[in-house]
Assembly symmetry: C2
Homo-oligomer: 688 residues x 2
């Protein structure tokens, strides 16, 4: 019998530990004696009274037996004390305080969700070998995921299966996964989710669907997560059968007001609307000669009585072959600064183009002094290798958040601006376009889980570092062995620059496959829009490569504070990783290391491929030290990544060589295929 039990136990652990479903909440057993000594005596009991603390208590009951091998009793004087205390003095109503005294740990917060956050903090501390104590408050109010999920279950730019939301089963069936989704987000402090694509179907606003949305909201509510909807601006026409959706028409305003009333009657804590208007063919107020302000404020007024918010996206650009898409958002939105209602946030992508592997910050963040801006990061790897390339995005998020904008001519990080410190924002928000899907492990690439994790942690505290977040995540997932942990951490921290090296060195951008955004296609000269080609961006010719955005070119740099743009404006002082963003760089320009640009450029692609090989070697070393299924999964994906890194290298080097007409740097082996052969690969992916 005992032997049989062990077999089962073994099978059970195997199944449970390895498929990635449990994310950073697998709560595997703590081995460190110091941690056990500290926590075991203090977690023999759970003490609570408030009924709202049910999910927090449930999490403790799930986690502690697994982590510490003990089953906390209920009640008593000592142990884990959970308390909702509306009178507690704290920076943010969602914050919490943790204190340790004698045989007890007390988590206290003005709201039950704060206690839940405190519990997750405690569980994180147990797993990272830290002692919990202090006051913790989120630095950002709205910590949000954007799901680009369609009503047919597909996910735009999703690489991990179908939508998590099973629309045809809702509202009757609640997939158990909805709750695990909420737990995962709450564990990070994410408190808002936009459940449908910004290219929005009006279907979601129908009464038929709102009861489905309500069912999700009911699951998420105990975890402090508000539901938002992306809305189709033409809904009054599509659903309401009005002749149009002109925001200045009373009947249109009435339709939205009544729709808002209907939503709030079902979902009293509904978050609000996210809107992509007059962008990439989506309807918007400009269809009727109105403005973003007219559109956003109309929606804001419908939501206002209920406390709802409008997130209005600044991702807009006009298809002008001679223009500079870089400048579009600023040009369209800057004039409206100060004109938006007080429950409107303008949601801005981190860079001026579109989630490239490396972008300079969007100038809007430095320019909108009277309008709160939300940061939109992309967690799904649309331009960063989908779910087969290992890219730890926290490095990129951190680079962006820690950028010194020089606003007010002093050190002003973008993080500070987002926290509202610089311009006194009424609302603060950080959002991420989710990388989740119905794949068993949620994110396709096992290491993609770390990007969801990092987005959540940075939304709570944008001053955290990619390095510490990686360590936290590793301790809760792959290994608590310090050597293994630091090896994996080093790999993670290297991945983003490696990806940049073999796809977009020196600020090369927008040279990926047209439409699907898979693989390299720097030769794209025709697309449904001129600003969807590659040539629009890299402007390679026999002299050089890159987009001159200085005052001799599009002068996009003028949109930044002068103190920020100054170094970028000159070829001499421009940080080399941003060169092609701002300059048309001559092929034979000498760089700091003495190489001419062409040679340095080519070397980066080769370096990137070599670095992937290094990743492969380093990953082999953790074999046996991380769950086997994860090990194999990552190993296999690294093979794909290596194959595709060579593809990128060959495509870019061979293609740009047709302009530079220069030989490869000495010592580099020429690609084993011709440009024509490389071009054929991406052709396959254009076949419908």
């Amino acid at each position: 019998m005992k032997r049989y039990l062990f077999i089962l136990l073994f099978l059970c652990l195997q199944v449970r530990a390895e498929d990635g479903y449990k994310l950073w909440m697998s709560y595997s057993k703590i081995e460190d004696p110091k941690t056990l000594n500290f926590y075991k005596p203090r977690l023999q009991a759970i003490v609570w009274e408030d009924k709202d603390l049910e999910v927090a208590v449930e999490e403790v009951k799930l986690a502690i037996p697994k982590l510490l091998g003990i089953t906390p009793k209920k009640g008593g004087k000592n142990g884990l004390i959970l308390k909702v205390n509306p009178h507690i003095n704290i920076t943010n109503p969602e914050g919490y305080k943790v204190s340790v005294s004698g045989q007890s740990i007390t988590i206290e917060a003005p709201r039950s969700v704060g206690v839940l956050y405190g519990v997750f903090h405690l569980l994180r501390c147990i797993q990272t070998g830290q002692e919990p104590a202090g006051e913790f408050s989120p630095k950002i109010q709205h910590r949000m995921l954007n799901h680009w999920d369609n009503n047919n279950g597909t996910i735009e730019r999703g690489y991990a299966g179908m939508s998590l939301w099973k629309w045809y089963e809702l509202p009757e069936r609640l997939d158990p996964r909805y709750k695990d989704y909420a737990r995962a987000n709450a564990s990070l402090g994410i408190n808002a989710t936009v459940i449908n694509n910004v290219n929005a179907s009006a279907r979601f606003l129908s009464s038929e669907y709102l009861v489905k949305v309500k069912a999700l909201a009911d699951v998420f509510r105990p975890y402090g997560i508000k539901v938002y909807l992306s809305v189709n601006f033409a809904s009054p026409r599509i659903l309401g059968k009005l002749p149009d959706a002109d925001p200045l028409k009373p009947e249109v305003q009435k339709w939205w007001k009544e729709k808002a009333d209907e939503i709030y009657s079902l979902i009293p804590d509904f978050g609000g609307f996210l809107v992509k208007a007059n962008s990439e063919g989506e309807p918007g107020p400009m269809d009727y000669g109105r403005t973003h302000v007219d559109g956003a404020n109309m929606l804001a007024k419908a939501l206002k009585p209920h406390g709802g918010m409008v997130f209005w996206r600044a991702f807009v650009y006009a298809p002008d072959p001679k223009g500079d898409r870089f400048k579009a958002a600023y040009e369209e939105f800057k004039p409206y600064d100060g004109q938006f209602d007080d429950n409107v946030i303008i949601q801005v992508k981190n860079g001026p183009i579109d989630f490239m592997p490396r972008e300079p910050i969007s100038p809007l963040f430095t320019a909108m002094e009277k309008t709160p801006l939300a940061m939109e990061f992309q967690v799904t790897q649309e331009y960063l290798g989908w779910a087969t390339h290992w890219v730890y995005l926290a490095s990129m998020f951190e680079e962006c958040l820690k950028t010194d904008t020089r606003v007010k001519n002093r050190k002003t990080t973008l993080s500070e601006i987002l926290q509202g410190k610089t311009f006194g924002y009424r609302h603060t928000a950080i959002t991420g376009v989710a990388n989740t899907g119905s794949d068993r492990n949620w994110t396709g690439h096992p290491m993609g889980q770390a990007n969801w994790y990092a987005l959540g942690r940075l939304a709570w505290d944008p001053d955290l570092g990619a390095k510490e977040i990686a360590q936290e995540w590793i301790s809760q997932t792959l290994s608590r062995d310090s050597k293994t942990g630091s090896d994996i951490q080093s790999m993670m921290l290297s991945t983003r620059e490696i990806y940049v090296n073999y796809t977009s060195p020196f600020g090369l951008h927008h040279v990926m496959g047209e439409g699907h955004h898979f693989g390299p296609e720097p030769w794209v000269e025709k697309a449904p829009r001129p600003d969807w080609t590659a040539l629009y961006y890299h402007k390679a010719d026999e002299k050089g490569i890159g987009f001159d955005r200085t005052n001799t070119g599009s002068n996009a740099l003028a949109q930044y504070p002068k103190e920020f743009s100054a170094p970028f404006s000159s070829l001499e002082t421009c940080p080399e990783e941003f060169l092609l963003w701002f300059h048309h760089v001559p092929w034979d320009r000498k760089l700091k290391n003495g190489d001419i640009f062409w040679e340095a450029f080519v070397k980066k692609f080769y370096q990137g491929v070599k670095e992937v090989e290094g990743l492969q070697r380093d990953w082999e070393k953790v074999k046996g030290k991380v769950p086997q299924e994860t090990f194999e999964n990552v190993s296999a994906r690294l093979k794909t990544q290596h194959k595709e890194a060579i593809w990128w290298r060959d495509a870019c080097v061979l293609y740009f060589q047709t302009f530079s007409k220069k030989a490869l740097p000495a010592g580099l082996k020429a690609p084993e295929r011709t440009l024509e052969e490389v071009k054929k690969i991406v052709d396959v992916y254009h076949i419908r």
Copy 2:
């Protein structure tokens, strides 16, 4: 420690047993003493020598400890003896013999896959409390799944997530699920899989994708499963850059020949091609003035040297508003009988239209004497309630297979024809359009697993009954308690007729939502094609309803043997469940039970709804007797089914009442909504 083990064991069993991933291969512990007494002594050891038996042995090693609580030793004289014996005398090379003697059970087969089938037979016997013995051979050669999976991961008419095949991970990463898919199929005897949609992308024939296909084939091979591809007939143009794909042009023939050579160099046991040509906009030989024979035989010649097959679909119909789609396949294919090459099979859907909840058999099955025909069933519930309605399809498959076609003016079941007995087919095949997807439980609806199971079992032996298959399946999944088992079996066997009652009584057909095929939309009068409307089929007017296919109408009945069609030809003798398939039935026509047609028709819809309520009540009774997660999952889906049954009832009754202009039968409560209100529901599902 022991307590901790028990907790873990409990969690472990919960996780393992309930999410449905393991299908009918969860191998839960046998409790029946008689079964244990018989098998335990005989399964103390496994004896084998042949290396090809690795996967069969692996399955035994996985299953026996779970089923019987013993771990078989390797080798010895007694125990489970597995043998490949090429000289064994057996009906079919894929068959096997099982014999019991003393303390041994011997499974012997001419090929290793036969031994594997024998092992799965043994495991099924253990779980159904039977003793294994005898000779077992499949009655059908090609036992096949058709996956309508697209290259972007979506599944046409799929309701259980994304495609199982992760094209962007292949060939480097092999999802562990591929192997479990192969195991599940092998356990049923399925030996062929067409992995991509019949609306085929040429992409799959590119060299880039063929190595991915090869990777899948390598996983499936040990399980006796051959891979097939659906091919786009225009591939020589799309991929090969030829000016066209005219099958009579030598360069087109050469392209296909070389492509076949390329495929077989990668996949030596590649199965062949499935082709949807000149159907619903797909390219085909008729684009160049050629025929189905020209097209099919050209492909057949390319595959012939390698032993590959062409499955050429007869699902063709021309958009003629005055025509009868019923007759199209026969009219197009009958003239070619005898002209196809000997490695071509014509694949025919079970009915003449398109997988309706109840169809008469396709007349082609009775008419093609010199051409082997494959049966195409649909396992995914495109027209049968997607993944939210519980419909056990084996009832429908059985009804079809046991239909007495009266071919040769004697009792000739369709099953016999498919087995090749009637016309002496060179090849025999039964295929099913798969209902599998990436959902954790594979099929969305937990009870949908039984449909995959049944398709496989019937493809092996089309003379099996829905009832016995249900019992087998239940014993291996939900319960081995005989009362619970027979309760669930009764429910399963009732479900198909219930679905017919509330959606398509008396042979009503093609009245579902236009395009998406969701919910009722009997009022559809405009669609991209006239034969995609509902009015084309039901032809309701003030006199009556139904499509006259007798000699006063389209005379489609003339396509059947006279002895078969005779009873259908007269309103007096036509089986009532097929009335509207063949007659325009007056609303006030008296039926056998004395009701006029209108009243009987309406009563069926009401009855269907009541029956769903009955299912709900009956399902409640198995609470605690089946895995809890499955119980809740099915309960919730039954709620949805009930809601939608009422929707169907209200839609059809209110709409057809506008023609009959008659009151509802006494005692029936009128729908609580108006026709306009019901129409709005399906409108929502048309919003993009």
